[in-house]
Amino acid sequence: MSFNLLVLTCLGYVVLLFTVASAAERAAVAGRAGWLRSPMVYTLSLSVYCTAWTFYGAVGYAARSGLEFMTIYLGPTLVFVGWWVVLRKLVRIGRENRVTSIADMISARYGKSNLLGVIVTLLCIMAGTPYIALQLQSISQSFTVFVTDPTGPSLATDTTLIAFWVAVGLAFFTIAFGTRTLDANEQHPGVVTAIAVEAVVKLLALLAVGVFVVWFVATGPSDILARIDAQALPEWEIQPGRWTGLILLSAIAIICLPRMFQVTVVENTNDQHLATASWAFPLYLFLISLFVLPIAVIGMELMPAGSNPDMFMLTLPLHLGQDGLALLSFLGGFSAATSMVIVASLALATMVSNHIVVPLWLRVRAVRQRDTGDMRLLVLSVRRLSISLVLGLGYVYYVITGGSAALASIGLIAFVGVAQCLPALIGALYWRGASRNGAALGLIAGMVLWFYTLFLPSFGPEVFLSARVMESGPFDLAWLRPYSLFGLTTLDPLLHSLFWSLMVNIVAFCFGSILSFPSPIERVQGALFVDIFDRPGTARSWTRPMAEAEDLLPMAQRIFGATEAQAFFRAQAELQGKQGFLPDITPEFLEALELKLAGSVGAATAYAMLAQTVGTSVVSVDDLMAVASETAQIMEYSAQLEAKSEELTRTARKLREANEKLQTLSVQKDAFLSQISHELRTPMTSIRAFSEILMDADGMSDEEQIHFARIIHDESIRLTRLLDDLLDLSVLEHGQVQLNITTANLRELIDRAITASNSVQAERNFTLHRSRDREDVDITTDAGRLAQVFINVLSNARKYCDAADPQLRIKVKRRNGMVDVDFIDNGIGIPRDKQALIFEKFSRLTDSMQAGGAGLGLAICREIMHNLGGDITYVPGQGGAAFRVSFPMQLEARESSARPATDPAEAAE
């Protein structure tokens, strides 16, 4: 077959993969990825487990060791069927914590320790590099198989060059689809879909070769069975110890291999897919392994002695002239190798960039300068670089080892390496007491032992370890011989290494964990991981909602703010086909709400908040611990809530005060109305009674009649004056009074007031003491109003001063542009407890109706003085009643005619 045709086929196939991958990416971006996220695609992507080693190597393995190759499939089968719960937990934790790799998982569980991340990354690189080299080797080997002419173009024979170009191509593919975007989930639908397609291709290829061998080379299954028996070698004998060890090893590998973790956990979109995979993946493995032994047996029968059994998949069809079948088989092997390399380099590059390059880069960067720019481009570049690095390492390894070792052994060595992650990983899932120190100790111990007892010797004698060390141990310490550590000589090197490394790993892990005290974040993460299923996060947890939307809305408002919360509730109500913003409390609604809350306060807090409000489940200590893990957000939010709550308290206090004021006002208003009623009805009573008496005036003297008529007359005047006072007061209180500001002389004003007030109890003779010089002040104010106040004060003095020889002193003082006018009589004055009362409305201290007022005089005076920018006060301790009227000498005209009605209380008084 032409080498160019082969290259063209490969390129065509790669173009097909590109097309599939980019179509899947586009569908995913457009949200039409439903079929991509099917359980079948997931299951097929798991077949990345079956690499070139499976495709080519299993046949070689079968040729050498009989059925033992089955152990490599039995382990995963056992895991998927029997350890389904472990995988489910792993997947759930991985998805909920947005884990990006196995290193990330272990690091996250043990207090987000980057040390562990680095250890696991290094371990995986060491184990993964030979494995990638193995794939490159198998591809280049498979190319050379097709080259019939050894003197053909140099490219066709130079396996190193083929491997180089294959590595470059794969790096390009992985970069193109593995680092297209930086998704928080680290999911790559394009890659997964391409892997699924390759899974189908390699299965079809293997089945095709198998069917050809069984039904076209042999005559059927019974013939094959007979031939197998005939070919059986002594080495084919089943060794129970080795079988157990290998099954265990492959079972561990399916969990711990970085690429398996990538497809099983990181790329998983739904727990339920595992349910399908639990039977479909074992079925796939069964089909893949079904024809391995027949192909091996027929190959051994038909192929010339000395041909490499690892290449039977290709050489057998070619030998039988089935070029088409060979090409299909080649594509199958190509698929197996490329899919492994793509996923492995993707997984390893994620680890390298996340745990080694980016932290280092940030540290260097932080020292040099603060960078607040977008990290995405940086991370993507690092990721791309890491992919190239990983593939480069694989290529270099391939070049160094020269592809000498048998395919299968390289795979198993890698298995033992990644198996070191198992104790830390299982501890992460099931042991809360597991600690970072324990995990680190176990990992390092296991890694060192694996390195020494398996990895270094695998390069062959005299590469890293001399034959002497291998034979008698370093420094001639026999118990340190790499293949028989501590004198254990009964196991073959692989199981020996597995036994010691895993044993020491587990012991170190357990003791390290027990002896060290985990940090708080480790304990919180531990509880989160171990009890993942006790904290239901799905709709099923909200089975019996008891809350009303009215209860949930305020809570949501506190977190999102009123506008956003209402918009969310309204949108949810619309989804349910309801108007308004109170949706029905369905599990779906609660789930949506929880998700939204989680975006703000973290998942655990959101759950706890909803659980308390909805009341369907009790919040456990673990939930509280989970809440504690979100301390940062909670602190921030509680600070905000506190501020809001203080604001609410303030508002509530203001409202309460306003309410109290209103109630006081209401009482005052009732008292005022009652007073007015009293003041109006009293003169009315006299008027009515005497009018009725006059209506029946028989036998009444004229004097009597005139006397009664006079009473009616006086009471009418009293009524009128009362109404005048009330209206005056009302106008003054509402600031609607129009001030007539003029310049006047204070002395003249006082003269006028004295004259006016003299009519009150004119029979009493008052002695006035004045200092007329000091009264000679020019003032600018509403002189009429001021005179009204003076008249009122003077009249009161005439009415109420009870001294036998009534005297009144008028004193004028000026200070800071204000004028004080004091009116002091020589009566008994006003008792201390009444002094505050006299300026209130209807406050008459005596029963003397002869005074003739309704008790509004001083209240009016006070209002007038306020309007004039001054005040009237009672001055105690002056020997008699003493009133001080103070006002500004120059009253500025008010800008607006109305005093701003600031306080309704004053208006109603």
Binding site: S677, M684, E692, I693, D847
Partner: protein, 122 residues
């Protein structure tokens, strides 16, 4: 024998009107504006009827009524209470304290006379 009525009222014009109406109808009328002093007079020489203003200076008509009803000699004394405030709560309080009649000012003279006659008969 001429029946006696005591009027406790601080508004002079009103007590004069009451005094005129009642004396014209054959009553002997005593008038006082001082509620506290009136109480002593009541116990010393109980009248046949008491007309009592609610709002008195220094003392409330309710206090006087309460004292009247508390004393054995005056417990059965018919009391006509007058008020200018006209609040329903006052009427209820007066009735609780055992007022005989309760009237709101301003009143019709005939109304007062009818009430007084009725109370005096029983």
């Amino acid at each position: 024998m001429q029946k006696r009525v005591l009027v406790i009222e601080d508004e002079p014009n009103i007590s004069e009107a009451l005094s005129f109406i009642l004396s014209r109808n054959g009553w002997r009328v005593d008038v006082t504006a001082d509620g506290k002093a009136a109480l002593g007079r009541l116990y010393a020489d109980p009248p046949d009827l008491l007309i009592l203003d609610l709002m008195l200076p220094g003392v409330s008509g309710f206090d006087i009524l309460r004292s009247v009803r508390a004393c054995d000699d005056t417990r059965a004394l018919p009391v006509l209470m007058l008020t200018a405030k006209g609040q329903a709560a006052d009427r209820i309080e007066a009735e609780r304290l055992g007022v005989t009649r309760f009237m709101t000012k301003p009143f019709a003279n005939a109304e007062v006379l009818a009430a007084v006659h009725e109370m005096a008969r029983t």
